[in-house]
Symmetry: C2
Subunit: 340 residues, 2 copies
DNA sequence: TTGTATGCGTTATCAC
DNA sequence: GTGATAACGCATACAA
């Protein structure tokens, strides 16, 4: 069966009339190999249909040819877009992708990281800046190249490629304030273990503080990311008296839910209610009205992470903290509040 | 650093005063191990903080603890939803996920499969029923457990978990015909190497043939999956005279594009134009009007694939061809045609 | 430039 | 039940 008669490196060597070392050298593009030897080996490889054994090569060379990516979830298209471009780009570096999700539970993230490290990955990418301290210890202990992304903290311990989550959030809130809104509510994901959510919330708050616009606790609703959850949040907020004239959402998915519930409740947007998101999912512009949001550079991050991690694995120097622009996308879901 | 003083299996054995074989047995939950030995080893493992080496264990045991998934793209949320649930469920089987995309190019799929097989995966999942013959040869040659999904062909060579793509497509077309449409157009992805697209197209055609509704070539537009592409397709179709009163789209993403372009062109939906999708992405119900579509059981497929592949890896019997329901979701994007 | 010989860290096959 | 020890298949330091 599996074991019967696989052709091994030794078979190729015999067939080509050279040593196993030479075959290995040719296959690994080592320098100082004569063209003649290379040709002989390649011919033998083709003749026998030889395919190297991954685990064996991994054991001997101490690298497995794959990196690990730890993401909160693939169910949010913004992350799957990033993973898609990451995987695509990794191919150029002859590198595979091992993926694990932890659904915003940092203990699960650590556990998943342990598993991947044990698996023998050559490098790791994590999302965000919040992690268990043990995660860092583990990475350093194994001297594993790693990268964090999706944030802009300049932390000596964490090389990163991402964007500022607070600044665009602040600009969204400023935009609402400039439009005349004074009763602004926020729908956010739990901020524990989620620095991006925290940064966005801080951005919202900074803008409002600076403008002297109040943000009482009752106008902040915390729910998990999700359409249903966003819809639920809107219901809570609309019970307030007076109710908010605008809602800043932690991401697009929440905004979708908010808008869905608002429509069902017969609330006209943007006339009676302004709504903002964060991510700029492809569907954001299809909403009614089209959603004002922030474009998270997911594809770009994936691409750059692949290059940077590949560089780090080859001990090449990389920029420690790479910050990409995340532009505001102003659409029609934001407008002046109703004139009372 | 990495090489300095990792604790190895032998260290644990010495620390516990037992043989390496015993340590290995304890770690692998082998039968016939005394409780006393187990305790000694576990204590030693904890004391030394021993972590097994993945590649070494893979080489010796001939299994790597990970399967490979080959998907056309992760950029379509329907696939990332499936992968998310697949990865989640695989954890229960103590199995990791190696992922590769091929962007609807079957040669790239084969190439990616080769790479993953070489990597040493314990099993493979492929999407759909169209693959290069060499893919099957490869899987059989390596005696690798594998599964195809997202289709319902009962092919002895391809165990599968999926749904019928043709039947719901047919029902969508029948729905339009029952509403009174006679000038129905189709926007499809290229059907070469994409059996799902082909099956859906066949479903559309069958319904129309049966009802005596014509489907001339000019009413079939073939574009890649994508919002822009869908928008472009609508432009082409609206140049026809008479123009179609309904458009069947190969998936939701195309439908989104069609609807976007229709809105821009000032075409009222569903009064002047009915549109259908396929997949039921979370955003489908947010469209204006909410999109009539077919719910692809992505999460369910991911979950079942994990269980079935894990079973196959353990040589357990599984259902060869598992077909899941993909229900129609009738919303407001479909209505009777304008009365001329 | 090429060949030889050893090591990579486990698992698994034997005996005991 | 437990312990030696031979695979596992390749990469690489070293010698030539």
């Amino acid at each position: 069966m599996k074991n019967d008669k696989r052709t091994l490196l030794g078979d190729v060597a015999r067939e080509a009339g050279v040593s196993t070392a030479s075959v290995s050298r040719v296959l690994n593009r080592a320098p100082h190999v004569s063209e003649r030897l290379r040709a002989k080996v390649k011919a033998a490889v083709d003749r026998l249909g030889y395919v190297p054994d991954g685990p064996a090569r991994a054991l001997a060379s101490r690298r497995i040819g794959a990196i690990g990516a730890l993401v909160p979830t693939l169910d949010n298209p913004i992350f799957s877009a990033m993973i898609d471009s990451l995987e695509r780009r990794l191919k150029h570096h002859d590198c595979r992708l091992l993926i694990a999700t932890y659904h915003y539970n940092l203990d699960d993230e650590l556990e998943a990281l342990r598993t991947l490290v044990q698996q023998g990955i050559d490098g790791a990418v994590l999302i965000g800046h919040d992690h268990r301290p043990a995660a860092l210890t583990l990475l350093k202990q194994y001297a594993l190249p790693y990268l964090s992304c999706w944030h802009s903290e300049n932390d000596p311990d964490w090389p990163s490629i991402g964007f500022d989550n607070a600044a665009p959030a602040k600009r969204l809130a400023e935009h609402l304030i400039a439009l005349g809104h004074r009763r602004i509510a926020v729908v956010t994901a739990p901020t524990t273990g989620n620095d991006r959510a925290r940064a966005r919330l801080r951005g919202f708050r900074d803008a409002m503080d600076a403008a002297g616009v109040e943000l009482p606790g009752e106008r902040i609703v915390t729910v998990d990311y999700g359409i249903e959850e966003g819809a639920y949040a809107l219901q809570l907020l609309m019970r307030l008296d007076p109710s908010p004239t605008a809602i800043l959402c932690g991401n697009d998915t929440l905004a979708f839910g908010v808008m869905l519930a608002a429509q069902k409740a017969g609330i006209r947007m943007p006339e009676e209610l302004s709504v903002t998101g964060f991510d700029d999912l492809p569907q954001a512009r299809f909403m009614h009205p089209p959603l004002t949001t922030v474009a998270a550079p997911a594809k770009d991050i994936g691409h750059r992470v692949a290059d940077a991690l590949a560089a780090r694995i080859q001990q090449q120097p990389t920029i420690h903290c790479q910050v990409i622009e995340a532009p505001l996308v102003l659409r029609e879901s934001t407008a002046p509040p109703p004139s009372t």
